[in-house]
Assembly symmetry: C2
């Protein structure tokens, strides 16, 4: 009676959302202090003060019908100009307002990019470990997702990548800093990726696009470099979100940046406009568009995440867990002691610990612990982690 794929998708909610809902329920039952919810990438630091100040100021100074009215489908002109300028200042790029398309967050940006690119039977490569929704967006657009495994350092397994590329490969989704591993792809990795893609493009006679999912760009530690991919590989679409950089994940605000020097850039922008229409996006939320344009240099309190990162990485390593040392984002990637991440996550639940098995991230045997939580909760959770570990030794 309904679309079966949609029903299945709605019925089998993402494992993250499932845990998040479970956590809400348990917290209502047992009390918030009995649940250690590490499930969701929901920023724990407040939005920078200037975000709320800007919203209030806009309300006080801008006419209501302008502030809350439709913008152009691609986003308000002045907002797109401000974003292009900001990118150019930071990355010596040459974006104009005509290359920026405002979106309802990075998820919308990804869904729109994939829908814009995807022709019948197209293949989209996805670098593991990866956010599970990538496969949802690719399948929904009629494409085939092809997962490319990671190497021992959570960089790219290039042999596997080369083998995975075919004539039907349209794009590859790259997410760095990475959710769930916290790893940043090095410049060396990205240059090698660029070479492989350029070679394949020449061989098959059509470009292969990089879709760069970059919500964690500003969340890096120890001064780590996040290379700007369009500067390394021209056929790149950046999907940016202010969810993490301004702690606004619920507000659904971000943008697509189409590299102006990419192949057929104007036609691609057109296809993006069409895909936005087809998916029901009229425009990105207007007041938030105006707000982020005035807060482009604001940053969240990364120090708080950094403190959590060190605290949790050190404590869990000391307990005995094998952890990936994260350079960015706010996830700690941990090996399930017996290699069975689902069993491990289930057992953790009994200790009140909500951690995400990474099977659906194409990283069997690993779990993701989101440390965008209060330091206090981490401290209170450590005995539970210790108890949990003891069950395996």
């Amino acid at each position: 009676m309904f679309n079966k794929d949609m029903y299945e998708l709605g019925n089998n909610r993402s494992v993250i959302r499932e845990l998040f809902e479970y956590g809400k329920l348990r917290a209502r039952e047992l009390g918030e202090d009995k649940v250690y919810d590490f499930s969701l990438g929901n920023p724990s630091v407040p939005a920078p003060r200037e975000v709320n100040d800007t919203i209030k100021q806009l309300i006080d100074t801008v006419d209501s019908t302008a502030l809350h009215g439709y913008t152009s489908a691609q986003g308000d002109l002045s907002v797109r100009k401000a974003i292009a300028q900001n990118l150019n200042n930071r990355f010596a790029s040459s974006y104009s307002e005509n290359d920026i398309y405002m979106t309802c967050g990075a998820a919308a940006g990804l869904a729109i990019s994939i829908k814009a690119l995807c022709e019948a039977d197209d293949r989209f490569m996805i670098l593991a470990p990866h956010f599970p929704e990538y496969t949802v967006f690719v399948k929904s657009a009629g494409g085939t997702p092809v997962t490319v495994p990671f190497d021992g350092d959570f960089q790219i397994d290039f042999d596997a990548l080369s083998n995975a590329i075919t004539e039907k490969t349209k794009a590859i989704i790259v997410n760095s800093p990475n959710n769930p591993s916290g790893v940043i792809y090095t410049r060396e990795t990205l240059i090698k990726l660029s070479n492989v893609l350029n070679e394949a493009a020449t061989k098959f006679g059509h470009p292969i696009f990089i879709i760069a999912d970059e919500p964690y760009r500003e969340l890096v530690y120890d001064g780590a470099e996040v290379p700007f991919i369009p500067a390394i590989y021209k056929n790149t679409i950046v999907c940016y979100s202010f969810s993490k950089s301004l702690s606004l994940p619920g507000e659904r605000i971000g943008y697509l940046a189409i590299n102006p020097v990419c192949d057929n850039a104007r036609e691609l922008y057109c296809a993006v406009m069409g895909a936005g229409r087809a998916l029901g996006y009229v425009c990105a939320p207007s007041m938030l568009q105006y707000t982020v344009a005035k807060c482009l240099d604001a940053r969240p309190n990364v120090c708080a995440y950094d403190e959590n990162r060190n605290l949790l990485y050190n404590a869990l390593s000391e307990i005995g867990f094998k952890c990936v040392h994260p350079s960015g984002a706010f996830y700690l990637f941990v090996k399930a002691p017996n290699g069975n991440s689902k069993e491990f996550s289930e057992r953790a639940k009994k200790h009140g610990l909500l951690i995400v098995p990474a099977d659906s991230f194409a990283a069997e045997g690993w779990v993701r612990i989101a440390y965008c939580v209060s330091k206090d909760m981490i401290l209170r959770s450590l005995p539970a982690f210790e108890q949990l570990y003891k069950e395996y030794v």
Copy 2:
């Protein structure tokens, strides 16, 4: 290289958006007072004062990470409860929070509903005259749009409707108060529609859903009744938006209400959740969710629209134009004097008048004049309308 359908869709922007962009450009070139832009359904009355007051109050009293954080995919629980309660109070319905799904406006709600329902080769009937994007959403979901013509009173041509229904008919999209005609479907029309659909459902052995697109529900004049369709026909999905009722079109906030007594209501809700995921909707904008939940009984200044309606209807009729008398929404539907709406719209442009030819609304020979504008602009535009009319007599 890209998806051709998406490229075409992006390249052939909706005629409304095209005129809107043209108007912006012309206003920059000639000055705002030289352009009479009647193209877009962008509310001209400000949001009720309590909307902006509520936003400020939320910022001052709610923790930033909660206010701007992810809500559940289907929307915040308390928000859904408030909306269900409000519907039940107004329409003696029995919605619960589990029947409400928050959306990024009505367009998202429509795209999601159609994607949730559509199986291979399904047909979606669309009552003319209709918003052009309906066909975009149906095609994007893989379905076939089938337009059903209107009768002499802009109600439903029931002979045509009966002929259009086949075994593959999954749903019918109903928009009342209607964009573009301003007509409200009478209770009599809706009961007749219900009977036809029930008969067909029995004949073909599966339900046929009504997708009720209701952004204009609160915009009615002279105390006209807008019958609540789920009370007449159980298999109804309501797509509501606060775009017009709270003058917030740019903010993209609305909801789907799945009638709890419809066939397989829980499964349908599941399919809606899945479709939301597939289209890239993570949640509806969070702060706006909390805001509308506190403003459910707020109304826009309908009097301003009513004044415009009477002014424009009377003036244009007096000039000689044939106009449909609108009972709701904020559109005046006018017959092109020579029956060629595109030529008429082009000619109107030369007089600075931006009016939408309704061919793409499946109403050839008519144009739509959006009177959600300043009264002053209407007054200033009247000599131009008079000049324009003279060119035809």
